[in-house]
Amino acid sequence: MSRAMRPIVERLVRQPHLWLIGFIGLIVPRRLRGDWRREWESELRHRELMLAEWDRLDGRHKLELLRRSTGAFLDALWLQPRRWEDAMIQDVRFGIRMLAKHPGFTVAVVLMLALGIGANAALFSAVNGVLLEPLPFPQPDQLMTLHQSKPNFATGAIPYPNFLDWRRENRTFSAMAISRGSSFSLLGAGEAERVDGRWVSAEFFSVLGVEPALGRTFASGEDAPGAGPVAVISAGLWQRRFGASGDVIGRSVTLDDKSYTIVGVLPASFGLYPTTDVYVPIGQWNNPALENRQAALGLHGIGRLRPGVTRAQAQADLDGVMQRLAAAYPDANRGNGAAIVPLKELMVGDVGLTLWLLLGAVGFVLLIACVNVSNLLLARSTGRTREFAIRAAVGAGRWRLMRQLLTESLLLSCAGGGLGLLLAWWGTRAALGVLPTALPRAGEIGLDGRVVLFTVIVSLLTGIVAGLAPALRIRAERLAETIKEGGRGAGGGRHRAQGILVAVEMALALVLLIGAGLMIRSLSALWRVDPGFRPENVVTFGIGLAPDMQSATPEAARASLRDLSDRLSAVPGVRAASFSDGAAPLQSEDDVFFWIDGQPKPASTSEMHMALVYRVEPDYLTAMGIPLERGRFFTRDDDERSRPVVVVDTAFADQYFPGADPIGRRVDLGDDRGAYEIVGVVGHVTQWSLNRTEDGRESLQAQLYEPYRQVVANTPGVGVVVRTDGIGPAVMDSIRRVVREHDGRNVVFGTETMAQIMEDSLAANSFSMLLLEAFAAVALLLASVGLYGVVSYLVGQRADEFGIRFALGAQRRDVLRLVLGEGLRMTAGGVALGLVAAFALTRLLDSLLYGVSATDPATFALIAVLLVVVALLACWIPARRAATVDPMTALRRG
C-alpha cells in the first residue's frame, strides 16, 4: 500500500464515520463546506471521545456513530439550494458589470430586443383582448344572437310577432330579448344632436346581465305599446350632456319630438354598442309594421341559454317553434327557420385569422432580432476568449461559463422585455387612437396579467435563444488553445455559426417580405376594382327632418321634399343631387320581394324573388356616375301621380330576363300600386364588398331602382348623394345653410365621401397590410444590419490576411470580390431557405388575398432579387474597408 494511501485507509477502518462525513461533504456547496465538516466532525469526535471515556466504545456504539453520520447526508441535501442562490447572484452581478462596460453595445441590443418583444406583446394584447378574453358579461358562453333564416339570407331579421312567439314557446332559453339600431334627433340639455339609439325589449339588459351605474334598466312590461316613455342612456351621453350629474334620473330628453324620462344610466364599461347613446323600449316605436308577421324590420334577437343547454339543443328547439309557426301562418313563415350565432362569434367576425397571422409574422421579426443579438454576442465573445480561458484555467467549469453567458443574454432580454412592455402599452393606445374601428372589442385591448405573463415568457425564451450560440461555443480545449495562441484565433467554427445565423435571418426576412408584397399587390388589385360607379367628388350625408314632416299630409310632405331637393340641386358647386332611400352601395342594404307580372302570385314571400332596392331621384345616375345601358332613367314626371315605373340593373336583367329585353316588362312588388313597368337598365354596382370574391359570395345581386317621389312621402329623414365640382368645406357649408333655410329644425349628419366609404370597406385589409409592411421593413432592416455586422466583423478579423494578400500582389478588386462573395454566399443560402419556407407558409394568407395567388412567382422573384441587392449594399462598406487595408500595417503586425 502506498504511503499516501495509508492514513486514508486507516481512517476508513478506524473512524468510518468521519470518513463518511468527508465523503458526503463533497456535495455540500464549496463555500459552506468547511464549516459544515467541522461541525459534524467535531460532534462525532466529541461523542467518540465521550464513549471512549466511559469505556463504551465497542462495536455497537461505533455502528451507532456511523448511523448518526448518515444523517449528514440529508443535511447536505438541504443545503443544495444555497448553491444556486450564491452562484446566480454572482452571475447576475458579474453580468451587469460586463454589460455596463460596453454601454453602446448594451443599449443597441436592449433597443433591438425591446422593439421585437414589444411588438409581440402589443399584438398578443390584441389577440388576447379580441379573441381570448371572454365577453364582459356573466356566463358569456350562454349568450346567443338570434336571427330568422330565410331561403336566401341566413341571418335575417325577425318579425316582431314571430319573436313574441319564440319568447313564449321556447324551452331552452332562460331569457330572450330583441333590439334594433336607429338614430334620433336629441333635444334638451344642450343643442340639437343626432345620436345613435336602439329600440330594445324590456329584458334586453337583464339577458346580458348588465347592471346600471345609476337608476334602473327597463321593467318587464315597459316595452308594451302605450307604456310610459322611458329611456336608458349611455355613460358617454351622461357625461357629455348632463355633466355626469347625480340627479339625471327623472330628467327628460326629447327624441324625435317625443319626451322621454331617463330612468337609468349604463356603466362606462358597457361596450357592446360603443356608439349607441340612448336605449328606448320597442313599444315606443310608432311603426304599424311591428304587428306584421311578414315585416322584417331589422330586429335581431339576443338570448341566454339555460344552464347546461347546448347551442344544438337550442337550435332544434327553435326549429320546432318555427315549424309550428310555418304551419300556423304559412303566408309569412313557410321556408323560414331560426338561426343561432354565439354573441362572441358575431362580434369578432373574421378578424381572428388575421390576428393570428400577424402574431406569427411579428414572431418572425423577434426571431430575426434574436439571431442578430446572437451574432453580436458571438462576435463579442471572441474578445472575451482570454477572460474565459483564464477562468477555465482556475477552475470554472464549462457549464459555469455557459451559465455566465446565458445570464448576460437573459439580463439583456429581460431589460428589453421590460422596455418592450412599455412600448407595447404606448403603441397599442396610439394605434387604437388612430384606427378605433379597425378591430372589434377594441376597448378590451390592454395590458393584463396574461399579456404580462406572455411578455415574461417571451423575454426568457429570447434570452435563451439569443445566448445559446455563444454559450455553446465555449469548449475547454479551444480555450486552452487560445491561451497558447495569445487569444487571437479567428475560430473557423465561430465563423460558420455566424454564417448560418445570417442565412437564417435572411430567410425569415424573405418570408415576411414576400407576405407583405403579396398583400400590397392584393390591396392594389382591390383598389383597381371597378365598383360600377365613379366615387370621385361624391359625398353622402343624411338629413334629419323637422318633426312635423311625420304628421303632415302626404301631399304637403312631398311638396316639402321636392322643395328641399330643388334647393340642394341649386347650391353652387353641386353638379347633381339626389335623395336616396333603401339600399346604398357599400353602406346599407334593403330588399323587396317581387314576382314577374303575368306569372301567378306566389303563395308566400319565401317563394317570391328578392332584389336589392334603391329609391332614388332622377339625378342619382349623374350623382353616382352609373352608366345607363338601355331605355331611360327616372324623370321629374315619374311621381306619385304617374304610372308606376322601375329601373333594373344588368344583373337583374340577366337573372330574370335572360337573353330578352326587359324594357316594357312588368314586376309586381306586392304593394297596392299594381305592376311596375321596367323602363330602363343600368350598370350593376358593387353593393357588398370591393373584394370581388367576397362580393360574389352574396347570392343577392339583382338590383332594382324605384323613383323616390313615387314611393316616399312622410319620412323622418332622407339620405342624400351629391356630386360636387370639387370636395371642399365650402360646398358642404353651403349645403348645410340651404338645408337649414328649408327648415330651421333640419339637421345634417353623417357626412362621408364615397372615397372614404370605399376606404372603410377595405379597412380590414389595409390594416393588416400596413402592419405586415411595417414588420417586413423592420425585418429587412434587422437582417441587413445583421449581415453588415457579421461581414464587418469578419473583415476586421481577417484584416491581416488581406494585407498579406495585397503584399503578395492581389488587386483591390480581388479582395472586394472575395468579401462580397462571402456575403453573397450567406445571402444565397438564406434566399434559398427563405423561398422554400415562403412557398410553404404563404398559403396561410390565401383567404386574405385577392387577385394574386399565394405562390405568385413574379412576387417571389422580385423580392428575392430585392433581398440580394440589399445584401450586396450591406456588404459594400465592409468590402471597401477590406479593399483599403494597408499592407504595410498588416505585415508589421504579423
Binding site: 467535531s42 466529541h46 471521545l49 448518526r68 444523517g71 440529508l74
Partner: protein
C-alpha cells in the same frame, strides 16, 4: 419557514435548546429525532432568527484534545416563538430540561 409557524420538529428542537441542550448531537438525543431532521431544523431556525450559532472557545476544546464544537443559543424572538409553539403543541411542555444547566461554553 416563515416567521410564526413552527413545525413540530422545529419546535421540539427549539425546546431542547431552551432546556439547555446546546450541541447538535445532544439535541438529537434529547428530542429523539434523527440527525437528518435536527440539523436542517437548526439551520432553518437560525435563518428565521430564533437561534444563533457560535463556535466554542478554543481553550476548552484544546484541553479536551478534540475539535471545537458549534453550539446554538436561543434569541428573544426564539423565546417568543417557542412560547407560541408550546401553546399549540401540548406535548412539548413535558420535556425535561437538562439536569442542572451546563455552564455556557464561552465564545470561541
Amino acid at each position: 419557514m416563515g416567521k410564526g409557524y413552527l413545525s413540530f420538529s422545529a419546535a421540539a428542537v427549539l425546546q431542547a435548546v431552551a432546556n439547555g441542550y446546546l450541541y447538535g448531537f445532544d439535541i438529537i438525543d434529547a428530542t429523539g429525532l434523527p440527525g437528518g431532521t435536527v440539523y436542517p431544523a437548526l439551520r432553518r431556525l437560525e435563518e428565521a432568527g430564533y437561534l444563533v450559532s457560535r463556535w466554542e472557545k478554543h481553550t476548552i476544546a484544546r484541553e479536551a484534545a478534540r475539535p471545537i464544537r458549534k453550539y446554538y443559543e436561543m434569541t428573544r424572538a426564539g423565546e417568543d416563538a417557542l412560547g407560541e409553539a408550546v401553546k399549540r403543541y401540548r406535548m412539548l411542555e413535558r420535556t425535561e430540561p437538562k439536569g442542572e444547566r451546563a455552564p455556557k461554553p464561552n465564545e470561541a
